[in-house]
């Protein structure tokens, strides 16, 4: 029984390896070649060079096809093996049922496990929940792609919002003449923080996806665009991150401005009196001293961004993404890909799944993970901030 189960696991892993990695790689190449082939075939007239290229593409497609077929056959064979054996079992009521062994995920007898084994099992479940791909239309399996998608989106968002927000704050606080215009800008920034997030989603769709993405596609991927398969011109993790960066930039600006204002006049004057220029003063003294405050702002921004769902629906989040934005295929980071997100995953499980009753545990577990992620981000930043603060413990007077 157990050995059979192990065999089943082994086969599943094999199928996964073949389908996701090998066949995936072939598919990717096929897709590109296919695009070129269709483009070339659609031309009314072809130059000699183009004709030669087309022929070459046909050859390569044939080669790939021949690579593909044995792999596909292998996978199919493995699948067949999975359903070969059936398990018959009887319920306590006396009914007899049967199930193909290939459908089994775990087999264990809870009442026969002693305490330690239960604990181990408990953690195994948690681990597989965190590390596995979803199965059965998200209602089973793990949520790893959603965690990873949330994480990568938050990182990208921080990378975009930090320089932008900090530079804006430095300009407003240190360089701009404090007049009517700067006051107006400040008010505008505060108002920006109060704009409903779906509005940012719409703006992101219009500006980033259609305008910027569309232009990028026209310039760099003209063939794919003509064939109606946009690359950047559709929602993706990059556009989602930038949209959230816009959403959170007021938080960073306000926090940074406050942190800059808190750097004492004495330190600034001391620096200038040493013959430093204004920018040197900011670079060497003001920014390091303001770093804890800036980090606080960034944490608030990250926490807000990580929990935001509505705008993402418009700019690239999907219920199920076949591949992560980072994988083994060149160029390894695919910022144009659609991605999964914990917040949207919750929505999808709770309201879009065929059997929402059955999905309830998943909804709660996913929600917990999302909250834990936000708490962890906050804690990490608070720790960093306190460390920085302690290093430059404020003057004792």
């Amino acid at each position: 029984m157990n050995s059979q189960l192990a065999q089943v696991h082994e086969r599943r892993r094999e199928i996964h390896r073949i389908e996701r990695n090998q066949i995936g790689r072939i598919n990717e190449q096929m897709r590109r070649l296919d695009l070129d082939r269709r483009y070339l075939e659609n031309l009314s007239e072809r130059t000699v060079a183009q004709q030669m290229q087309l022929d070459r593409i046909h050859e390569r497609i044939a080669v790939l096809q021949s690579d593909f077929e044995p792999l596909a056959a292998q996978a199919a064979a493995l699948r067949r093996q999975l359903v070969e054996n059936r398990l018959e079992y009887s319920l306590a009521t006396g009914q007899v049922r049967s199930i193909t062994v290939g459908d089994l995920v775990h087999v264990y007898a809870p009442n026969q496990l002693h305490f330690l084994q239960r604990v181990v099992l408990f953690f195994q479940h948690i681990w597989s929940f965190l590390s596995e791909y979803p199965r059965e239309a998200n209602t089973e399996g793990g949520i790893w792609p959603a965690i990873f998608g949330t994480f990568i989106m938050t990182v990208l968002m921080s990378a975009a919002v930090t320089p932008f927000g900090v530079m804006a704050a430095i300009y407003l606080r240190e360089y701009a003449r404090q007049g009517l215009f700067v006051r107006a800008v400040r008010i505008a920034i505060n108002n920006l923080a109060g704009v409903p997030s779906i509005v940012f989603g719409i703006f992101g769709l219009g500006f980033f996806v259609y305008f910027m993405g569309g232009n990028i596609d026209r310039i760099f991927f003209p063939r794919a665009t003509e064939m109606g398969t946009p690359t950047f011109g559709t929602g993706g993790v990059l556009w989602a991150s930038l949209t959230l960066a816009l959403l959170t930039v007021p938080v960073v600006i306000v926090a940074t401005e406050e942190a800059l204002a808190a750097v004492s006049r004495g330190v600034r004057e001391g620096s200038l009196a040493c013959g430093a220029s204004k920018w040197q003063t900011i670079q060497y003294l003001v920014l390091p001293a303001a770093a804890p405050g800036i980090l606080t702002g960034l944490v608030l921004a990250m926490a807000r961004g990580a929990g935001e769902v509505a705008p993402l629906i418009l700019v690239g989040v999907v219920a199920f993404a076949p591949s992560l934005p980072v994988d083994g295929l060149f160029p390894f980071i695919h910022l144009e890909r659609k991605f999964m997100h914990l917040g949207f995953h919750i929505y999808d499980l709770g309201f879009q799944s065929p059997d929402s009753e059955a999905a309830q545990p998943m909804v709660f577990a996913t929600t917990l993970i999302l909250i834990l992620l936000v708490v962890a981000l906050n804690l990490a930043a608070i720790l960093i901030r306190n460390r920085l603060r302690r290093r430059y413990a404020s003057q004792a007077f």
Binding site: A273, C274, G275, Y284
Partner: protein
């Protein structure tokens, strides 16, 4: 108005000089200087005074009389404030500091400043001292090490901090911080040191150390010090200027000001009978 370019020789009191170049009696020369905050609020009125090279000159006077304002004009620290305006001129070694050809940063590199409230940077003791070198683009470690040791020795702080140069400057006591600020001010070998009430937050022992230090430093630097402490002015300075309501009331050798002032207001102020 004497031509500031004419060099006048002066024998410094009790100061040892190695160079043969005669020291200038008008090293810093303030001429018909008026100063306004917010464009109209005049705080300095037609000041004329010559500050001699490598001597200690003290500015005294009641609070709000404009001592700090004049001091901060010498290194153009007031440039930071919006709406300031000045008339007249200030010359250092014969050159106007308001000359458009003179860059304010290079001016400040020649002038060290010590503030009333000690303001160490949120950095290590070492980095505090080498700051003025770093901003001048000098990063060679051997040079920086040497400057740190020399400046800390000069500021009489070396023995107290030599084992913790790379710890935060905020771990020092108030007096040590102020001496650190002095060390920082002299690190890049300025010509002038401006001190705005450097001992106002210090105990008598720290004050004494700093006064001794000033006495040492005048062998090398021209020092201008603002102080509210009459005894301090009397102890450390060679010349004293008494200001009242933005005007220079009396400017003379410290001995004359404290023993035989000409003006009755000066007499009343130095003897504590003012107001």
């Amino acid at each position: 108005m004497p031509d500031p370019a004419i060099k006048t020789a002066v024998t410094p009191q009790a100061s040892v000089t190695t160079s043969d170049v005669p020291l200038r009696a008008d090293y810093i020369s303030v001429r018909n200087f008026n100063f306004f905050y917010n464009g109209v609020h005049q705080v300095l009125f037609d000041l004329n005074l010559d500050i001699p090279e490598r001597q200690v000159t003290a500015f005294i006077g009641p609070s709000g009389c404009g001592k700090s304002t004049l001091l901060r004009n010498i290194n153009r620290m007031n440039d930071l404030i919006d709406g300031i305006r000045h008339e007249g001129d200030i010359f250092i070694d014969g050159h106007s500091i308001f000359d458009p050809d003179i860059e304010v940063i290079s001016l400040r590199k020649r002038i060290g400043m010590v503030f009333q409230k000690s303001n160490p940077f949120p950095k290590s003791i070492y980095e505090n001292i080498v700051y003025s070198l770093r901003v001048a683009g000098r990063h060679r470690k051997s040079e920086l090490d040497e400057v740190v040791e020399r400046s800390l020795h000069a500021a009489a702080l070396w023995d107290e901090v030599k084992d913790r140069l790379h710890q935060s400057a905020f771990g020092l006591s108030g007096g040590q911080m102020q001496r650190l600020c002095i060390a920082r001010a002299i690190a890049n070998q300025p010509e002038i040191i401006l001190m705005d009430e450097p001992c106002s937050a210090l105990d008598p022992i720290a004050t004494g150390k700093i006064e001794d230090l000033i006495h040492e430093l005048k062998k090398q630097f021209t020092i201008v010090i603002v102080t509210h402490n009459m005894q301090q002015a009397a102890r450390v300075s060679d010349r004293t200027a008494f200001f009242y309501l933005g005007k220079l009331i009396e400017y003379n050798s410290t001995e004359a000001i404290f023993m035989n002032p000409i003006n009755s207001q000066t007499e009343a102020y130095v003897s504590g009978r003012f107001g």
